[in-house]
Symmetry: C2
Subunit: 225 residues, 2 copies
C-alpha cells in the first residue's frame, strides 16, 4: 500500500489542463484549499469516456492524504473499466460547492459564488486488501467523520462485491469565486438591487430508522454536525 505523501507545503504543479482559459485569477493550486473543498462535499462528479462519449456520474468518495477513493459494485461500468484498462481509466473528478447567488445590475455579470476542485488523472483498481479496507473506512468517514469505527465493517462477501478505484491528487486545481457583483462602472446607477444571496447547507434533525432500538441515542459525532 503506497500512498504518495508529498511535501504538503508545496502547491500542486499547474499543467496545461489545470490552467483555466478564463478567470485565471480564480484558480489555485494550494493543497490545503483543495483538501478543504474536497473534504466538505459529499458527492463528486466522476467523468470518464465510454465508446468515445463522455459520461458524468455523481458518486461518493473518500480522501486519504493525496489519494482519492471511489467505490461501487464490481458490476458498475466505470469500476469494471478501471480494473480492465491498462494502465487504468482516464477520469476527471470534480467537486463543487455553491456558496451564493450573485445578482448584478447587468444580466451579463450575474454569477454564483462557488468553490470547486477538478482532478485529472488515471484511476486504478485497488487490489491490496489492506488498502481496500482503508479506502472503505475513508468513504464512510467522509459521510460522517468517526462513523467507520461505529458500524459493522465489511465482511468477506461485501468486500468481494465492492470495487474500489484510486485517483492520486497530482493534476489538480481549485477555482473560487467570492464577493459581490462586478458591475461595469456605467451600470452602478441602474435601479436594480445588486448583491449576494448566500446559500448555506444546513443539517436537519436526525431521523432514526423505523426499526432502530429506541435506547440508542443520536451519537455525538452526528449531533456535532
Amino acid at each position: 500500500m503506497e500512498i504518495a505523501m508529498p511535501d504538503t507545503a508545496a502547491p500542486y504543479q499547474a499543467t496545461d489542463r489545470t490552467v483555466p482559459t478564463r478567470s485565471r485569477e480564480r484558480a489555485s493550486y494550494d493543497r490545503a484549499l483543495v483538501h478543504g473543498i474536497l473534504d466538505e462535499a459529499y458527492v463528486c462528479h466522476l467523468g470518464f469516456v465510454r465508446d468515445g462519449a463522455p459520461v458524468v456520474l455523481p458518486t461518493l468518495y473518500g480522501r486519504v492524504g493525496e489519494r482519492l477513493y471511489v467505490h461501487g459494485s464490481t458490476g458498475s461500468r466505470p469500476l469494471r473499466a478501471a480494473g480492465q484498462a491498462d494502465p487504468g481509466l482516464a477520469v476527471c473528478l470534480t467537486v463543487t460547492h455553491v456558496d451564493g447567488l450573485v445578482l448584478a445590475r447587468s444580466a451579463f455579470h450575474h454569477s454564483i459564488n462557488y468553490r470547486s476542485v477538478v482532478v485529472h488523472g488515471i484511476a486504478h483498481e485497488v487490489t491490496d486488501p489492506q488498502e481496500k479496507r482503508t479506502a472503505l473506512d475513508a468513504l464512510v468517514d467522509h459521510v460522517v467523520p468517526g462513523r467507520s469505527a461505529d458500524s459493522r465493517p465489511a465482511n468477506a462477501k461485501e468486500l468481494a462485491a465492492t470495487a474500489v478505484i484510486s485517483l492520486d491528487l497530482n493534476e489538480v486545481s481549485a477555482k473560487v469565486r467570492s464577493g459581490g457583483p462586478n458591475d461595469d462602472p456605467e451600470d452602478l446607477g441602474l435601479p436594480h438591487w445588486a448583491g449576494v444571496l448566500p446559500l448555506v447547507p444546513r443539517y436537519g434533525t436526525p431521523i432514526p430508522s423505523d426499526d432502530l432500538d429506541a435506547s440508542l441515542a443520536v451519537p455525538g459525532y452526528l449531533s456535532a454536525l
Copy 2:
C-alpha cells in the same frame, strides 16, 4: 428558433446508456421529475472529451422546455469546441442534489439520499440571435426566477463575447434514493445508531453590494426565496 415541445405526458425513452447497471429501481424517465430536479439546482457538471480524456466542469445552465442552455466566454474551450465540431460536441450534463446522509448499521450500507439527472447528447452552438437572447434570459432566471426582467439586458458587445450552447432533453434519466438505511436483517440488533441526517440548503440574508444605492430594497422575487 426551434425548441422541441414533445408530449409532456410521455416519459423520456430509455436507451442503453440511460439504463443504470445498478439500482435500476431508482431510475426514472418522468419528465416532470427531471424538470424539477434540473430547475432546483444552480450548477450542472458538464462533461466532454478533450484530446481523448474526460473533462468535467461546473457551470450555470438554464432550461426552456425540453432544451438546456449553457453559456460562457467565446474563448472557453468547450464552447469553442461545440461551435467548431460537426455535428456538435458530445456532452454529458449531470445535476445532483444531496438530500441526506444515510447511516446504516453496516459500513457497506452507508449511502446518501440524492436526486440526480444525467443528460447525454450533442451540444450545438446557438447562432440565432433571438434564441440566444431567450437562452441568456433563461440562464439569469435560473439563478433567480424573475430576475432577467429586473436587470440590464446584454448589449451588443456582451452578446458578441458570450457563446451559448444548447442541449436537447432526449436521452435523459433521473435517479433518486430516499428513505432510511437498508440494513441486512441480521444486523438490525447491532448497537449502532441508524437513520438519516437530512441536508437542507438554506438561503442566508441578502448582502447588498457595497456600492448599492441605499434606497433600493431587496426585491420581492429574492425575499420570496
